[in-house]
Amino acid sequence: MTVDFNAIPLSQLSIGSSCRIGEIGLNGLLRRRIQDLGITPGTTVECLRRGPSGDPTAYVVRGTTIALRKEDAYQINVFPI
C-alpha cells in the first residue's frame, strides 16, 4: 500500500465538497453494507449536509443519498477533490 498524505477521513470532508474513496477501514457487516451501497474505492462521494445536531451526515453516492454516523465515516479514507 502506498501511503497518501492527502487522505483524510470521510467524516472530515466539508459540506459541499467531493472526494474519491480510498481505503475502507471498517469491518464486518458494516464494511459490507457500505460497499453494497456503492461506496467502493475510487467512487466519487459528495458531502451533502449534517443532521440538525451535527450527526449523522448525508453523502451523495452514485445518485443516491446515504447518511452515515461520524464514527463510521471516520474509518473511511478519502481523497478530497
Binding site: 459490507r32 453494507r33 453494497d36 456503492g38 453516492v61
Partner: protein
C-alpha cells in the same frame, strides 16, 4: 429439475403454489416500488411508502394473464444478496433455493447505477431474470432519459419500463412474464467482467466445483465466487445438497439446513 422437487423447497418458504402456477419472485433494492408492482398485479394491499425497509417478509399473491396462473412473491428490498442480514438471506435463499420460474428485478430509474448492482448479482444466480425499470415518471421529472432497448442489449435479459403507481407498463410486464414462462424469451444474461485477480482465482477453483456435480442446481461460477468470498452460511446450505443420496432427499436436506 422436476416439479416435485421445486414443491418441496418452495413449501419451506411457505409458498403454496398450485401445480399449474408459475412462481415469480420480485427482488430489488429497497424502496424501488416492488410492493407497488406486487399490489398492482395481484390486487393485494402490501404496505407501501417512501422509505426503505417496509417489506420485511415474503408476501405472496396470485394473478392470471391469458389463462396462465402466476404466484408472485414480494421479497424484502435488499442492497445486495451477498451479505448475511436477515432480509438479504430471505431474498437470496428464495432466489437461490426456491427456484422461482422467473425473477423480476425491479430497478429505480432515478439511480440506475446503484440499482444495477443487485440486478447483476441476481443474474449470476439465475438466468431467468426480467428487469423492470420502475419510477420512470420520477426519472422524467428529474430529466433523466434512459435507453431501455440499449439496457436490454447490455444485460441480455428482457427489460420493461414501468411507472407502477400510475399503472403504466404493467401490461407489458405481464406480457413479458407470460412469454418468459412459455419459453418464448431467450435469456442470455451478461457475464460479468471481473478484474484479472478475481478471474484468476475463479479459474483455480472452478474445476473442483464442477466435480461436485451441482451444475444443475447452482451456477458453478457463482458458487466459486461465494467460496472466494468466504460465504459460510451459503456453504452450509450447499453441503446439505451433498449429504443427500437421492434427488428427493436433496431437497429435504436443503430445506432442513435453510
Amino acid at each position: 429439475m422436476n416439479k416435485g422437487h421445486k414443491m418441496i423447497l418452495r413449501e419451506h418458504f411457505g409458498i403454496k403454489a398450485k401445480s399449474d402456477q408459475y412462481v415469480i419472485a420480485l427482488a430489488g433494492n429497497p424502496n424501488v416500488g416492488k410492493s407497488t408492482v406486487f399490489n398492482a398485479l395481484t390486487g393485494l394491499r402490501q404496505h407501501t411508502g417512501n422509505w426503505p425497509g417496509k417489506t420485511v417478509d415474503n408476501a405472496q399473491g396470485s394473478f392470471s394473464f391469458k389463462d396462465t396462473d402466476f404466484l408472485m412473491i414480494d421479497l424484502p428490498g435488499t442492497y445486495s444478496i451477498l451479505t448475511n442480514t436477515v432480509e438479504e438471506e430471505i431474498a437470496r435463499d428464495f432466489i437461490c433455493f426456491a427456484v422461482p420460474d422467473v425473477t423480476v428485478v425491479v430497478l429505480d430509474a432515478t439511480s440506475l447505477e446503484r440499482n444495477l448492482n443487485i440486478a447483476l448479482q441476481v443474474m449470476e444466480i439465475t438466468s431467468k431474470v426480467i428487469v423492470c425499470v420502475n419510477l420512470l415518471d420520477e426519472a422524467k421529472k428529474n430529466k433523466i432519459t434512459l435507453n431501455l432497448p440499449g439496457l436490454e442489449k447490455e444485460l441480455g435479459v428482457p427489460v420493461v419500463g414501468t411507472s407502477a403507481r400510475q399503472g403504466i407498463g404493467l401490461d407489458k410486464l405481464k406480457e413479458m412474464l407470460y412469454l418468459a414462462v412459455k419459453e418464448q424469451v431467450i435469456f442470455r444474461p451478461r457475464q460479468l467482467h471481473y478484474s484479472p485477480e478475481v478471474e484468476e482465482a475463479i479459474a483455480q477453483i472452478l474445476p473442483k466445483i464442477e466435480q461436485l456435480g451441482l451444475s444443475d442446481y447452482l451456477h458453478p461460477r457463482w458458487l466459486a465466487l461465494r467460496l472466494l468470498d468466504n460465504d459460510e452460511m451459503l456453504l452450509r446450505k450447499v453441503s446439505a445438497y451433498l449429504t443427500a443420496n437421492s434427488d428427493d432427499d436433496i431437497y429435504r436436506e436443503v430445506s432442513m439446513a435453510l
